[in-house]
């Protein structure tokens, strides 16, 4: 090939032309850019979904409300209400659980630790039932 000859690759590149966008693409872009007021059905749907979710939360909260004996005096009456108790208090891996087990016997502590052994990592299970704790390893250390 001489210096004056055109590179076939360049000729091929020059022949390439972008494809015009389809009318469907224009319509979708226009829809996405339109102000919210132009899509009243979406606003209505969002409000309905939020209302439904709020209703569900209220229902669950009402169903799960504490049903303590109202005749028991509560000298600790709170002035500030924090929504939920500490999740750690529900866990069997809290210090208090181990302390309580150790207060009974070192073997009980071992049994509690054994009951939690080799579980996949994740949210803790509730405290093991008494039956599983009864499987006490008499050999305390080990």
């Amino acid at each position: 090939m001489t210096n004056d000859e055109r590179d076939p690759v360049e000729v091929e590149l020059e022949a390439l032309r972008p494809i015009a966008p389809s009318s469907e693409l224009y319509r979708r872009i226009g829809d996405a850019l339109a102000p919210a007021s132009a899509r009243p059905w979406r606003t209505t749907l969002a409000i309905a979904a939020i209302t439904a979710a709020a209703a569900c939360v209220a229902l669950v909260t009402w169903l799960a409300r504490p049903r303590d004996n109202p005749t028991v005096s509560n000298e600790f009456a709170t002035t500030t209400t924090v929504p939920a108790p500490l999740a750690v208090a529900q866990s069997a891996t809290a210090l208090r659980d181990y302390r309580q087990a150790l207060a009974e016997s070192p073997a009980r502590l071992e049994a509690l630790l054994d009951a939690q052994s080799y579980r996949p990592m994740g949210p803790p299970d509730p405290a093991p039932p008494a039956a599983s704790l009864a499987r006490i390893n008499q050999n305390w250390i080990q």
Partner: protein, 391 residues
């Protein structure tokens, strides 16, 4: 522009780029490629927090099936067959992290001590799980002549044990004792099969173990983060939405009946808790006594809380003391046994009973020897038997 010119210009540009890149990379290329040992030293940088390595190990722990669970629970005597081999293969990554954790010179588990008795301690269970696997592998290695690798497993397990107790939380110290005992039980039957070089390495690592928890420290911890923390909360009992009795029951792990027996008001409950303070304060002095007197004194102190419905806020330091004394003694016995294996029974005189200061006793046996201490646990003297391993 003709093709040859363009091509020549392109080549010149590429050559220039290569020269520039070469110049930029020259300082890097001038350094020798890192050796495996150098790479390991970067990985095992001692200024790292060991807990981060241990938590990676915990995340890599296998979830054993029923057969493997049974094997783990009987790791000291279970047959070292294909099932054990498969389990240990699945635990290889976790055990690698255990070893890396040992190389770190500090360990902070990041415990939320402000949660007082509600504080989570998930690392304790995981540490026991990991330790059992390490001891099983040590046993496998000891029976197959891989004593150098087995020594690493044993020492790594002991380091982990120390770190589970290092926060001075009594439960952590109990777990430390449990794991230390595992490691010692894994190596003691096979100690006579370990080469002198490997014994010397084990001896070295035993002298370099990180500090574990102390009973003195745990009394301080339990008083400050347990008892005093609860009393402080009772002065401002509005920080939680739970009913008072339930809040105390959740926090202390007490049945509401006990709270009721304590008066069920912040004032009466605080008074009951405050009544435990003098008992706490007297424990450190009791620890300074020789073991029999210390045990008796601590029992006496413990009994002073018998009529207190909130005595759960005072842990059973007496029983913990016995386990703690046994733990320290057991490790002394292992150090003495290693020294005896290295240089003969006359080395025993270099070691004394850590709680009485008295001499340890050596008794030869047909397949090894026995070392006895004066410290007792559950009424029995703490001893260490070397040898008698099934091949």
């Amino acid at each position: 522009m003709n093709r040859t010119n363009r091509l020549g210009r392109s080549r010149a540009s590429i050559a220039a780029a290569i020269m520039f890149a070469s110049a930029a990379l020259a300082p890097i290329r001038a350094q020798p490629a890192p050796t495996p040992a150098a790479a390991a030293s970067v990985t095992d940088a001692t200024d790292r927090n060991a807990a981060l390595q241990y938590w990676q190990a915990f995340a890599e722990l296998p979830v054993p099936d029923d057969a493997q669970r049974k094997l783990i629970s009987t790791w000291e005597t279970a047959p070292l067959d294909a099932t054990a081999d498969k389990l240990l293969q699945s635990a290889a990554d976790a055990l690698k992290q255990l070893h890396r954790g040992s190389a770190c010179d500090r360990c902070d588990w990041g415990l939320n001590k402000q949660d007082s008795f509600a504080m989570r301690l998930p690392h304790l269970v995981k540490a026991r799980d990991l330790a059992r696997l390490a001891c099983l592998r040590a046993r496998q290695r000891l029976t197959t002549g891989q004593t150098a690798a087995a020594v690493e497993d044993i020492a790594d397990t002991l380091v982990l044990a120390r770190r589970t107790g290092a926060d001075d939380i009594l439960i952590g110290i109990m777990v430390q004792a449990s794991i230390e005992r595992m490691a010692i039980n894994a190596v003691a039957p096979h100690l006579q099969t370990v080469s002198k070089d490997d014994l010397a390495h084990l001896s070295d690592r035993l002298t370099k173990l990180p500090p574990g928890g102390t009973l003195e420290g745990s009394i301080v911890w339990e008083r400050e983060y347990g008892l005093m923390s609860l009393i402080a909360r009772l002065q401002d009992p509005k920080s939680d939405g739970r009913r008072g009795e339930q809040w105390l029951a959740d926090t202390l792990g007490l049945p509401p009946a006990a709270i009721k027996a304590a008066g069920a008001t912040p004032q009466t409950v605080a008074a009951r808790l405050n009544a435990l303070r003098p008992i706490y304060d007297a424990f450190p002095e009791a620890l300074k006594l020789p073991q029999p007197q210390a045990h008796a004194r601590m029992l006496e102190l413990q009994r002073q809380s018998d009529d207190n419905p909130l005595k759960i806020a005072l842990p059973d330091f007496t029983r913990a003391y016995d386990h703690y004394a046994a733990m320290q003694t057991r490790l002394t016995l292992l150090r003495a046994a290693v020294a005896i294996e290295l240089a003969g029974p006359q080395r025993l005189k270099d070691f004394t009973d850590p709680y009485s200061g008295q001499a340890l006793e050596y008794k030869p046996r047909p397949t090894g020897f026995l070392i006895l201490s004066k410290v007792t646990e559950e009424g029995q003297p703490v001893t260490l038997t070397i040898g008698s391993a099934d091949k």
